[in-house]
Symmetry: C2
Subunit: 439 residues, 2 copies
């Protein structure tokens, strides 16, 4: 089939912007054929674009032969352009239709699509990920990523307003893991390098100059665990602030969460209903539970966790039921957290770290950092890490490292909270083969 | 030395916000000791923070013994807090000083700093990169990254306003290079994976659903070349737009460049003079030269380049002299560009691609993409690439791939243009060992 080129056509409206009041106006629409219904004398073409759908009505007798022959060959997912006249009508839900004067066919599509993207007959997640490019055309999925987009935009606006500077730290690092999760190794011009699991050390070094920094970007964790909430590659939203304590950045974080919920509610009034999801704007301050309180809460539910141990997933599930919204968990055992977290002055067994929970999901974690070289070296050793491999980082502590604190939010988990999606694969753009790679 | 903790102190002002009009007001300042001058009866401490400096004056007889003893031990780069009273004065350039009531010392610093960060005695770039955390405390360097921050913020605002959706595509890819530059390989749970060199294939797949997408983030190129303009890891600003041609996205790009220059000029009125740099807001449209015109221009300068060959760096230097501002180079030979660039319908020898040049520097490149599977497979083969390894990408073309176009800007090069920096290492946050890694 001979395909048309765009030529001098420019879109005048998205589908949803075509209103009955525009009766008689000429519009140019671009999009894809979602459905075709043929009633002999009349043909209905549902045109889909990013913003929604609109009915293009082809009354056989009333349109040009060119329009008719074009409309004859249309199939689902053909990408097309329609120049036509808006008509007020009673027969469509949106009370409007477009009568085409000219149709352009830009590209065709296979006759056997792997799934129905109207969402009427839902496909299995694996089928969807196998044809992710098509799967993402579902109104529901577009809504998910519009909400994620809106959330990240809101986060930036909030942090800009607080005079944070956005930075881009290296992903390929020469050495030095921050401990904990394993690193992916990269062959870097014959030498062995690694993929950064966080901007932690860099952002700490940067508070000496920029004072308030943040970064949004992909980081990497070679953890074998492959659950519905973990990814080996994830987008992290990191901040670090000089002359601040854990309490300062916790207040910043809860205000940010409140702001994000507020903005997404305001800006995504079409997307949230599409997902049959609603967001409650939280009150601040959020509930603050100490690690010890959490153990007590769980004990009451007959879940015994020996002091100092991490809280296992099933316990978090219970905890999420007891505290069904946002809450902080503070005062974790020092040994259970990373080497750079500051122990409490009054009780070094506990540290100035926090996790921000939303029900059972850990959305963010952070804390006050150690600002003195001596203590940092002590903690490195206690963690079984070699101070030598942190030579470059430790050097920065000779140049006047200020007291500082920070946190990191997992963007995918935040998106799950904002969209109501339960499977993290639905809020990423990875194709299925990417997940096949994971164990 | 016993260090102080922040306690309940909160910064009331940055150094630059302390004005003579505030005479008598009490302020709380945080920052670092930049210089100390002792005139016996009186001591001058220059306090530096992210925004600038201010003089803290200690008249021995008039301050408490605590303040005196604290100020006695101060050294360069100690991070401190000062609670004091603003005093109007004639003796300082900014006509203001602060008399301390209380001083807190948060951290000390080494007595032998590797460089003078006042910039009075400039250090060699390698020395600077070896102590990057300290180097970045130079007012000049803070200015560079504030300008980069302002530029990226402006780019986002511009693209949001044009309804682009920000996305996060995978960095670890299972297979399939887009050809051209080599890829870094990653050991991914026993399997071999690669680091993405661009979001090209993903962003093209996404125009079928989101229509207008953009991404800002790090990408990776395992090119042996290590020049003053190349990085093996770089930040790319990518857009892709459905139902658009090269000309459409070129117009978008030149408007964006004009907007960025305008905003940076407006918002960085302290930073640009610090760098002794100025930005001229360009007129649009930018000059458009065809590849053939460029060969002619160069021929006149006695630089002969056989048709179809790439333009070597020295030739670009000459070209930058002939065209000393922004210009596009269009209509490149098809075989010289990537497989996904659309050949011209009227002359398949040439393709609908463009580079955006600023003097000798290539700031961005883009073009109309191939939207039909058949032609894409043909081009893959011509490029010596295996269609099988693009199976997943080609599949998307069965679902109604619309005509589309896009471009990518190199953030580091844009920053060089906006800051006047000539060495790309000065606009990145990589420590020197990162560059030692490169050949």
């Amino acid at each position: 089939m001979k395909l048309d080129s765009i030529g001098d056509w420019h879109r005048t409206h998205y589908s949803v912007d075509v209103k009955p009041e525009m009766d008689g106006e000429e519009v140019t629409l671009f999009g894809w054929v979602q459905e075709i219904r043929d009633l002999g004398g009349i043909r209905f073409i549902i045109l889909q674009d990013r913003e929604g759908t609109i009915q293009v009505t082809v009354p056989r007798k009333k349109v040009s032969s060119e329009v008719l022959s074009k409309s004859d060959v249309l199939q689902k997912r053909y990408s097309i352009g329609v120049k036509g006249v808006v008509k007020k009508t009673e027969i469509t839900p949106r009370k409007v239709e477009v009568i085409p004067k000219e149709i352009k066919i830009f590209s065709t599509a296979t006759q056997c699509l792997p799934m129905d993207i109207t969402g009427k007959t839902p496909a299995h997640i694996d089928v969807r990920l196998d044809a992710r490019a098509l799967d993402l055309c579902q109104e529901e999925n577009i809504a998910v990523f519009k909400i994620q987009h809106t959330a990240t935009e809101a986060i930036r606006d909030f942090l800009f307003e607080k005079s944070f500077i956005e930075v881009h730290t290296p992903r390929i690092i020469a050495s030095a893991t921050e401990g904990g999760a394993a690193l992916f190794s990269v062959k870097y011009f014959g030498k062995k390098a690694f993929l950064a699991q966080s901007p932690q050390l860099y952002k700490e070094e940067l508070v000496m100059s920029f004072e308030k920094v943040f970064e949004v970007g992909p980081f990497f964790r070679a953890e074998e665990s492959h659950t519905r909430r973990h990814l080996s590659e994830f987008v992290s939203i990191d901040i670090e602030q000089a002359f601040a304590t854990a309490e300062d950045v916790m207040q910043l974080l809860e205000q940010l969460m409140q702001y994000v919920c507020k903005i997404v509610n305001e800006k995504c009034q079409r997307e949230l209903p599409t997902l049959k999801h609603s967001i409650e704007v939280p009150e601040v301050p959020f509930k603050r539970l100490r690690y010890d309180d959490v153990l007590q809460d769980l004990k009451r539910e007959r879940i015994e966790i020996p002091w100092g141990e991490d809280i296992p997933t099933p316990a978090f599930r219970t905890l999420g039921k007891i505290h069904p919204y946002f809450y902080f968990i503070t005062d974790w055992p020092t040994h259970s957290k990373a080497f750079y977290i500051k122990p409490r002055d009054d009780n070094p067994e506990l540290c100035e770290s926090f996790d921000l929970m939303w029900r059972r999901i850990e959305l963010a974690s952070g804390g006050t950092r150690i600002a003195t070289k001596k203590l940092l070296i002590k903690r490195l050793k206690e963690k079984g890490l070699k101070p030598e491999s942190f030579k470059h980082h430790l050097q920065a502590f000779d140049y006047g490292m200020p007291p500082h604190a920070g946190w990191a939010i997992g963007l995918e988990r935040l998106t799950m909270m904002l969209t109501g999606k339960k499977n993290i694969r639905e809020v990423t753009l990875y194709p299925r083969d990417r997940f096949r790679l994971t164990p």
